[in-house]
Symmetry: C2
């Protein structure tokens, strides 16, 4: 291949050169002052992106590790109401089942959550609520603030997966009452895969489970982060911390509001293209729900074969995502996270439009031109 | 500082340039064929270093994560006899306590293990034995083969922490009857911190626990590794995999026997220097136990203050390790793992000798010259 394909996936996403270069360094001692400063830089910027003043820790493990840390440290043995309208909601249910009693509150993938059913579970005594804020499997953004209000009304802890929204869309963990919030490194933060971060409220600490895992024991993270030189309880993935710090500095330089506006414009451009071409967006939204601002999911037009369609796009050096599990072959997804802007989006939409035509679908209008109107 | 200090620690260790450069690449899709090939290369070389034909998985998490995976997947709710003669043995006890009933079999740090007490625990029904093969906190190598024979005699699973021996000293997991074996990336493999690997025997799979964690669920790792394109169940730390693959290719190029011989010679040189200077090695060994071949622990001569001593060495751009926990201020440790050879060892020993003199200890003879005799 002439170079790595352009990844327009809902993660991993292309990394800026400065982020990649940061990993190249010789090993440093992770118990030293330099590492402590790196960790502190990450925490400072991530707290802003989370919209929180709570304690925040970086975990050497993917977003799934952080989700498990949330449930295992604060929900062990408890009843957990898990909202689910996509693959990552389902994963939260599975994690809840491993550590507590899961009460699944399900909707079809990409359709609105059932908040009345959630309230019924809370009224029956659920002590924790889990929510995927931005469900990338279906391209839907869920109403975190409303869920937070319900959780608070019944004095339950609110765990929010912000893995694919934080750093790219507005998140106000504290204002929304989200007690435990997590993000992954390789999504809107545009850092390499392999790290996650988690914030923990005072209310959550008061309910810390007696039974906790070891590697993901957040009490140990808390103790190590409070040391004179900030550190992690076990050996951290040092090169990934160096890269995440650089990614965080880039976020500060761009400015969080500008970064969120860019992500929204990116997604709006993709949606405008879909509308112009006559391609239906996949999620069914209502007043509480919205289209995701970091990934757009669209229905594959009838008769267009997924593998030929995405294969034609891949031939042009671009990777977009298909559907997962039962949506395989039914939808396609374009991630617009991280360091992506007009060049990547226009190239992707041109390739998508071409691949649709090649596979027998004739767009109603010019999607690329419509995207230019948004991006220009 | 003019550059990163030379890390002569029991991990992290200096990385060869080829390993560091491998991380710099643009993001790749971790569900694609290229990543599958990277993972497969790691597994091939690591199996050789483990001395195993068992299944082997790479985990995005430190050696501690892999140790917890071993205990949580195969010892959950069971009685676990945990051998302990140092800090990492103690950590294994703590992990065992989180997931099962731990039966601690303790010796003073750096003294021989009590194999008779182990046999008594096995006779009383312990179903799992945990051992730290190379205890870096005290510089002692424990008798894995003997422990393996005892475990097999009582039909218990044998979990071996080979975190700081594999890739630098001889390990024969299968011949020793070690059912579950783990390694960390930033030790003798000379890769960056943040990954670990674990091998699992057929006997162990037959006893897979019903209750397992999620992120560290080895059944999920097994399923994903067996897919048409080898993969991990959750997002892996891709840059670290790329670096580990490069580190593994370097191991193949050097040849495992030559690499082990080099590590042994390195440690022998440090021991020869200690003997020449009249510095006492810390561990008390017997016929079953040996000095570590990857880290040398020595008693700090009476009256030499730890911080001044190591500070003088740090001033010369070299970091060696002190003692941990109750050995702080009592011992010092020189790691000779990974990509280190004569230049690093001679510089370190010269600095150590100088720092001893500076702090009032007068060596009996020339340690540097003694090391040259071994290395030359």
């Amino acid at each position: 291949m002439e170079k790595e394909p352009l990844l327009m996936l809902p993660g991993p996403v292309p990394m800026p050169e400065r982020v990649r270069m940061a990993m190249m360094r010789q090993a440093i001692n992770h118990r030293g002052a330099e590492f402590g400063a790196v960790y502190a830089d990450c925490v400072r910027v991530l707290k802003e992106a989370f919209g929180t003043t709570n304690e925040l820790f970086v975990i050497s493990g993917s977003g799934t590790a952080a989700m498990e840390a949330a449930v295992a440290n604060f929900g062990s043995g408890r009843t957990i109401a898990s909202l689910e309208n996509g693959k990552f909601g389902e994963r939260m249910v599975k994690i809840a089942q491993r550590h507590g009693t899961a009460r699944k509150v399900s909707s079809e993938w990409g359709t609105p959550l059932d908040l009345a059913a959630l309230e019924a579970e809370l009224a029956e005594g659920a002590e924790m609520v889990t929510l995927v804020h931005n469900e990338t499997s279906a391209g839907i953004k869920n109403p975190a603030e409303k869920v937070g209000r319900l959780a608070r009304k019944y004095d339950a802890l609110f765990v929010m997966d912000g893995i694919t929204s934080i750093g790219g869309d507005e998140v106000q963990a504290d204002a929304w009452g989200a007690d435990i919030v997590v993000v992954g490194s390789q999504k809107c933060l545009a850092a390499p895969a392999g790290l996650s971060a988690i914030s923990v409220s005072g209310r959550a600490w008061e309910r810390l489970s007696e039974k906790r895992p070891y590697y993901l024991d957040l009490a140990a993270y808390r103790k190590s982060a409070a040391a004179k030189i900030m550190e992690t309880p076990y050996t951290p993935a040092v090169p990934l911390f160096l890269a995440l710090r650089e990614a965080c500095l880039l976020i500060e330089e761009e400015g969080l509001p500008a970064r969120i506006a860019r992500h929204r414009r990116n997604a709006e451009a993709v949606r405008a293209a879909a509308a112009a071409m006559g391609v239906r967006l996949y999620p069914e939204i209502d007043a509480d729900h919205a289209y995701s601002n970091t990934v757009t999911a669209a229905a594959l037009p009838p008769g267009v074969p997924d593998s030929d369609f995405r294969g034609a796009i891949r031939k042009m050096g671009i990777e977009i995502a298909g559907g997962q599990d039962h949506l395989k072959g039914k939808i396609f997804r374009i991630g617009t996270m991280g360091a992506t802007g007009a060049p990547e989006i226009l190239a992707t939409l041109a390739a998508v439009q071409h691949a649709l035509v090649r596979n027998g679908f004739h767009p109603a209008g010019d999607g690329v031109a419509a995207a230019c109107e948004v991006l220009g």
